[in-house]
């Protein structure tokens, strides 16, 4: 670990990370090529990029669910070595535990930690309110819509009070109407918690609306092509997608993503 003064330690530091997969033909495929970046405390950072550029891989590495071929990742100054409750994650697919009710899903991490019941209840109630699912607290996941399931997944990750929240296209499978509601909800929840977030999306509007800083990635090999700060103040709302600043930025990212010689437009 590098000895850095506490105030200067970024919440997340990705240092020269390369990830290679073995191909069935015996070669290697470079999913991420010497990726480095930092996310300071309380920042909402967004990764955008074409399909297959390694966005999910980068989150899995940060979560400690996979290991980089070379390079290191630090969260709160600690080198990542395996998964832990300090890095919460909302997955691309639905990962609620179907045998548990909404309430018990949110409680899952707290229970593993051995938190007393009274304390657990208080936290669970708070997050049930945050994501607007009080009425559904005792439902099982098969009785929930896709948007509700992702709300539970967000609440479940936040209940653990992680150092950083990793979100892998959490709204990718939702219809556009629900998606807008979810973005609004996430903006609200984030205003309350000011958690450091690393958020993956395909959707440029979503990236600008939610993010403080956007990392534009390129594919083959996966790398960071451009870092952009979003010049729009907070608190944000859905109307801001019509701001000239917003549109200028959207055009910029659009060209970044679609003009590259080696990237597919998708």
């Amino acid at each position: 670990m590098t000895p850095v003064a506490a105030t200067a330690t970024p919440r997340l530091r990705v240092d020269n990370v390369t990830l290679q997969y073995k191909t069935p033909s015996g070669g290697t495929f470079t999913a991420l090529d010497k990726v480095s970046f930092e996310v300071p405390d309380q920042q909402f950072a967004v990764l955008v990029g074409p399909s297959g550029c390694g966005k999910s891989s980068l989150l899995y590495l940060t979560a400690g669910l996979a290991e980089p071929t070379s390079g290191d990742i630090y969260v709160g100054g600690q080198q990542v070595d395996g998964p832990g409750a300090d890095r919460g994650m909302v997955f691309q697919g639905y990962t609620l535990f179907p045998w548990l009710t909404v309430r018990k899903n949110i409680e899952f991490g707290l229970k593993r930690r051995g938190m007393p019941a009274a304390e657990r209840k208080e936290i669970v109630e708070f997050y049930l309110n945050e994501v607007g699912l009080r009425r559904f607290a005792d439902n099982y996941s098969k009785q929930l819509s896709g948007g509700m399931m992702q709300r539970v997944a967000i609440a479940r990750a936040l209940a653990n009070d992680p150092q950083i929240l990793l979100m892998d296209e959490p709204f990718g499978a939702l219809d556009s109407q629900t998606r807008l509601q979810m973005q609004q909800l996430l903006l609200k929840v984030w205003e309350h918690s000011k958690k450091t977030v690393l958020f993956v999306t395909h959707d440029i509007d979503e990236a600008i609306l939610l993010g403080d800083r956007i990392f534009v990635m390129g594919a083959r090999p996966g790398r960071i092509k451009e870092v952009l700060d979003v010049p729009i103040g907070r608190p944000r709302n859905l109307d801001m997608v019509m701001d000239p600043e917003f549109i200028r930025m959207k055009r910029n990212i659009f060209h970044q993503l679609h003009d590259g010689p080696d990237d597919h437009a998708d």
């Binding site: 179907p98 045998w99 099982y140 990793l166």
Partner: protein, 267 residues
């Protein structure tokens, strides 16, 4: 009658629910047809009574054996053997099967062996077991265990292999240890599949029981029907078969009920 609401039309549409009366009528009809066919063949004299007894004769046999007190002990002897064999087998197979599907090394260790034994016909071991264990209860229990255990292992391993890796990963990001992942993700996620496996293998346990009782036993429904064969009491053979069928139907319903109760989330 509108086309959309006609129940006849619904009957012919795949994967469509039907009113309970229609379901019950269809189930009842199957029994009526079976017993009707049986009655017409036997009462009509198409098949001689020596080979096919009338339903009435089988009912009389049931009354007779119930009254003289022989039916009850035979039924109980069979139920006891099935229960003991099935419970011992399941109690061991469920945890090992879950491990086998979750840990690659356990799978590598057990799978070749299990798949070898699984294909050995149980019946070929009956003489060996008689030689080793004799013809007591233990012998019949052993045959049931031998017939059911290895099948259970493979089926339960498949159940736990089917659990999504994402669920386990999600539990890790929530602070689960590996032990937590086994106890609080793999185990509950496997429960419906495990209960289904038990329900299916329970049927096989009954099959092996009768095999064991036909060869070497002094009580039980298999023994009862063997003895009846020697005395040309075809009505008693039919009675034994009917009782085994009924007991199977009851255990099947119990498992369905259990699954509905403890794994309601998976219905």
């Amino acid at each position: 009658m509108s086309k959309r609401n006609s129940w006849l039309n619904r009957c012919l549409t795949p994967k469509t629910s039907l009113p309970a009366q229609v379901i019950w009528s269809a189930s009842g009809l199957a029994w009526v047809l079976l017993i009707g066919l049986w009655a017409s063949l036997s009462y009509g004299g198409v098949v001689p009574a020596m080979f096919l007894p009338t339903p009435g004769a089988v009912f009389d046999a049931a009354m007779r054996l119930a009254r003289d007190g022989t039916l009850g002990p035979h039924v109980w002897a069979s139920v006891e053997v099935v229960m003991v064999g099935f419970v011992i087998s399941s109690v061991v197979a469920v945890p090992i099967g879950l491990m086998m599907g979750s840990f690659r090394v356990v799978q590598a260790f057990l799978e070749p062996l299990v798949n070898f034994i699984r294909y050995l016909p149980v019946t070929s071991f009956v003489p060996l077991f008689i030689l080793w264990i004799g013809i007591g209860l233990e012998q019949r229990v052993s045959i049931i265990i031998f017939g059911v255990f290895f099948q259970q292992l493979v089926m339960i391993a498949d159940v736990s292999k089917g659990i999504s890796k994402d669920l386990i990963n999600a539990s890790y990001t929530l602070g689960s240890t590996r032990r937590d992942a086994v106890l609080h993700v793999i185990a509950p996620a496997s429960l419906p599949g495990v209960l289904d496996t038990l329900r299916v293998t329970m049927g096989w346990a009954w099959t092996y029981l009768v095999v064991a009782e036909l060869v070497a036993a002094s009580s039980g429904l298999g023994y009862l029907s063997l003895k009846a064969m020697r005395g040309f009491q075809v009505d008693v053979i039919f009675l034994a078969i009917a009782v085994i069928g009924l007991l199977g139907l009851i255990t099947d319903q119990l498992f369905r009920f259990l699954r509905l109760k403890v794994a309601a989330w998976a219905q």
